[in-house]
Symmetry: C2
Subunit: 357 residues, 2 copies
DNA sequence: ATGAAAGCGCTAACAA
DNA sequence: TTGTTAGCGCTTTCAT
């Protein structure tokens, strides 16, 4: 008859201590891997481990966490799960966390500053050991919360001024994309339709601002023009962007020769509008999208894409958070330009690579 | 000078007790919401709460969890984050969890049975209060682990026999999809190319098996034929499936009139193969995909899709897990058939809805 | 090479 | 209406 154990069949180190004849502290050492440095006899440790295994013992991580004031959890807040970019972030993040023998906790905050703060506080309450802040609307506010409890953290994708950040080089990516669009665009005398237009995103958004800056610079360099009338960045909302594009097309009398689309979401809206147009409308158009979706390569017009390096972003974030960096450095990762599968001004040749049989 | 507090600036109920003059248990009650039933004077409770707020107190959830033997965490294991289906699961799951004032923990297990078990055990070690098992390779093995510690859990997307399950009605969805493909397919005398083929997935996979069963049934009913030579389900791997399709096309002398594609991943592989074909190859083809991707609606041939109702799946899973059901019932949720944006046997008319200006 | 004991921060009887 | 006390299961000095 046990004293009080059996609080749900859960074995504890005390149970193990009793069955092995060792003391709880010895059992603890044998099971937590510290037994070598505690000079527990190897045979003792092994025996305890064997018995633990046999009894189906699992460490109560809450108890350990409480005692050690750290949980073995690593947190990440993301704006949303439902995008390729962020969900691949979660995936890569998990890999890294698991490689370190810890447990990942990814929570989305829906771009809501209040939710961001609440979530971070919750994670802190669970004593997470470090925090990855991805695409937060107000990174510095979160930094303050973390700083108050001495929690190591790093900003990813959107930079802050109070913690190290690792972001994609939006300026460089947008430069490449704009240049590639211009290079692929048919030269046209049309003063309106012959230009490249920027669609989607929000001016207050850091990433959008950088991309617009790049867009302006490249347009000026390559065409010697101001991009003033060419930018429509009201919102990331697909329908709003589609509306902007429709208005534009109605004003300039058709699709423009080039289009810089600021995200995969915006692209979806644009496609909905495209679906209302006849196929001839696409004969001389080139699309650039600052985001990556494999299916886009198979549309009936060429799409140039920018793919951010999620691997590097996360890998560098870990490096930063694990090496005691001072201050708030901001690492910029170069994104990759994805050219169309095949390029041709005539959509009829788009998929013409090889004839089977 | 405090006795020993200040273990990192973290305020505890003892700090609060000292500053308010109340006892720790009163503070605890005031802060955990149980003060009404403990008949704490309202003014006392309010005062404590005010002070807690002021001092930036946050409950140590590990301590609370340890004491209460539950953590406030709700776990979910998914095969991967990086798919629309699973990532929208995570999103919806989070909403539900948060609506209940708890904290979601979603972890992916990469369809690795060992990883699945390890992850579930880890989550249990953190004393999660319930567990959602999504698309596990061996749900019953996980059920055993949960049962050993009396953990409530539910299977989602893939059924088990030892816990309640809620899954998509694969048979019904595949029936609808197959029928719609057949209905849209041009009648053809060609004994090989005039048929509908099933591509992708794995025979051992429950979902695939159900879909194949439906496929066979509908082909028999509608065409009075056996589907024996029409099914190629070796793997979910995009490239393997693409290879199967290529071999098939080479054998039958071109693309078949109809294609049942068993997942979005497989579809990607198929597209890669399609990219090697001339546009004329698609003139008389209809594609069905058992999965949903909005971009697929904008390809240059009609794509019929099946969209699973993530909302219902999760909502019913919560209902099951929260209502003490006996046994292991299996709820089937009807998926939705997404017809092509426009339908025409000639790809040239596909996007021809409206001419602007 | 191991055991005893204190305590992580919180909650819940049981007292008062 | 509130305080006292005893743990939750684990780690970690400090003894031995």
């Amino acid at each position: 008859m046990t004293k009080k154990r059996d609080t749900a069949g859960k074995t504890t180190i005390y149970d193990l201590a009793r069955s092995t004849g060792a003391s709880p502290s010895t059992v603890s050492a044998a099971l937590s891997g510290t037994w070598r440095s505690r000079r527990i006899k190897e045979s003792t440790a092994l025996e305890i481990q064997r018995l633990a295994e046999e009894q189906g013992y699992t460490t109560n991580l809450q108890a350990r966490g409480l005692r050690k004031a750290r949980s073995g959890l690593i947190g990440m807040v993301v704006p949303a799960h439902f995008t390729r970019f962020f969900s691949s972030m979660s995936q890569i993040f998990e890999d890294h966390v698991r490689a370190r023998g810890m447990c990942p906790v990814v929570v989305s905050t829906l771009r809501d500053p209040a939710e961001e703060r609440r979530t971070v506080e919750t994670l802190i309450s669970y004593a997470i050991d470090s925090l990855f802040i991805v695409g937060a609307t107000d990174p510095d506010a979160l930094s303050d919360i973390c700083a108050a409890v001495n929690l190591k953290h790093v900003n990813v994708d959107l930079p802050g001024t109070k913690a190290p950040s690792v972001i994609t080089n939006n300026y460089s990516g947008a430069r490449q994309l704009t240049r590639e669009i211009l290079k692929s665009m048919p030269r046209s005398g049309d003063p309106l339709r012959g230009k490249v237009y920027f669609i989607g995103g929000a001016q207050w958004d850091f990433a959008t601002a950088e991309r617009i800056r790049a867009f302006r610079d490249v347009v000026a360099e390559e065409r010697g023009e101001s991009a003033d009338g060419l930018i429509f960045a009201q919102s990331y909302d697909p329908d709003v962007s589609a509306g902007d594009l429709r208005d534009l097309c109605e004003r300039i009398g058709g699709l423009p020769a080039g289009l810089f689309i600021n995200s995969a979401f915006v692209f979806e809206g644009v496609l909905k509008y495209f679906a209302t147009l006849p196929p001839e409308a696409f004969n001389n158009i080139v699309i650039g999208c600052y985001d990556y979706d494999p299916l886009a390569s198979f549309l009936h017009f060429p799409v140039i894409m920018v793919r951010q390096s999620v691997d590097q972003l996360i890998a560098e974030a870990f490096r930063l958070i694990e090496s005691d960096v001072a201050g708030a450095p901001c690492l910029q990762i170069e994104p990759e330009l994805i050219r169309p599968r095949t390029f041709s001004s005539s959509p009829n040749e788009t998929f013409h690579h090889r004839i089977p049989n």
